[in-house]
Symmetry: C3
Subunit: 195 residues, 3 copies
């Protein structure tokens, strides 16, 4: 492992916390609705496995990034900006629930491109983004097929889930990778002048 | 005083002008409604004391910032970007009136974090932002209690005012501080290469 | 000509493609409706002359920019960010169709200012933006007068077209100019470290 246990825990906590905030917005906007969650406990508006999965995904992609290329330097503010960017996009998908889905998806894709340019470093960031952009929606499709939740009519065009999940998860992957870089130890990985 | 009379006047004018634009949007979107304003004259959709208060707050925070730490260099474009950012966020609070308030508040908080990272310099910016984030909403709560205006049902959860006022005023404080820096005189404070 | 045929073609294709995406959003949101388009073929939701005109405008402004001042360096990512920014603003005008038009216009103007600061270089960028901000809406007003299309009631305040067309086209001009710079040949114009 390239990340320490503490760094992995930070990534897990950030991902889980943001998952809870974003899912709260999705449920409140009516974008998604939980159906049969097997009786597991809920935190806020989410069954407990949801924040756990987002947290694990965040930590996994952060770790993966460090196996792809050396981390670039950066500071706390760089991480804050990256995290705020992707949480903002996540919330925006709920805010745009009632808009034309193709328009919302194209708009989220524009923001994901800005996240890639601002926080990514080309190929390594794109690999992390692409993996998240495939696995994230596929896992949600499986959960949807299993009857765990449903997206509202207006945003279920992609095999039952929101098409904007693709650019949203892409941005998530890019940001998780950047956070992984910022938490990496070592001479080049920690202190620097960025942001 | 660290700022000249002319610089204070510029800050006052920018704050007052933006207050008028933002309040026009708030009234038109139905986010806020003026009730008993004591018969004072209105400018656009605002009782005259509103732009005056925003202008005074802008000049005060700009001056305050210069007592906290030396100003960083920056140019006209830096100031334009800072001002456009906070006016955009202000307008967005009106645009989001009909959305879930918790979602809107979290979204505005993400944008405020981006403003802090882009235009702030850590502690001094956070102090200015925090003072604005406390005093601004408190003043509005007092005005609300006095029957001067009311927020619409959907956005009056914070003692009668919009919860997103907190991150909005925080971003305002950070930007007012940055404008104060840019208007500071002296060898290091004026001409530079930034933006 | 300062741009090669290939570069002009790239600008034309980017402009035409983005025009199709943005117009699709405008038609779907109900912001605009085509009336009498003279029986020409449609691509997606646009009569064929629309993407052609946007493409020609993009190539023209890109070429024009290089006659105003030497190009600054920049890379692919810079161009991606510039293009994503203006497409995002374009889509946002559709998303904001049902909002107060003055609020939406002021908001789009804030974003256009951010585009100017981030991607522009002062006077040359402002000239390109201003030309687009005048010619674009005027051409649309003429098309509207000719009965080719109409904007919906809420957004036809500027002689039949949307007032936010002015800042939208301004941002378009700034971005087309930046893309022209990035596609310019020569020692200083091509490879660099930007973005």
């Amino acid at each position: 492992m390239r990340l320490t246990g503490k760094s992995l825990l930070i990534l897990f906590a950030v991902g889980a916390g943001f998952g809870l905030i974003g899912d709260h917005a999705a449920v409140h906007s009516g974008a998604t609705r939980y159906l049969d969650t097997g009786g597991v406990p809920f935190i806020l508006d989410s069954p407990i496995f949801f924040p756990v999965m987002v947290g694990l995904a965040t930590a996994s992609i952060g770790e993966l990034r460090l196996h792809l290329a050396p981390p670039r330097p950066g500071d706390f503010w760089e991480g804050l900006a990256a995290a705020a960017s992707v949480l903002g996009i996540y919330l925006l998908t709920s805010i745009l629930t009632d808009e034309s889905t193709s328009t919302a998806t194209a708009f989220i894709a524009c923001l994901a491109a800005l996240v890639l340019v601002r926080f990514g470093d080309g190929r390594p960031a794109m690999i992390c983004g692409a993996i998240a952009a495939v696995l994230g929606p596929v896992v949600e499709m499986i959960e949807h097929s299993a009857g765990i939740f449903e997206y509202t009519d207006n945003v279920d065009d992609l095999f039952g889930v929101g098409p904007w999940l693709v650019p949203l998860y892409f941005a998530f992957g890019v940001v998780a990778a950047r956070l992984g870089e910022l938490l990496a130890r070592g001479p080049s990985g920690r202190r620097a002048s960025a942001a």
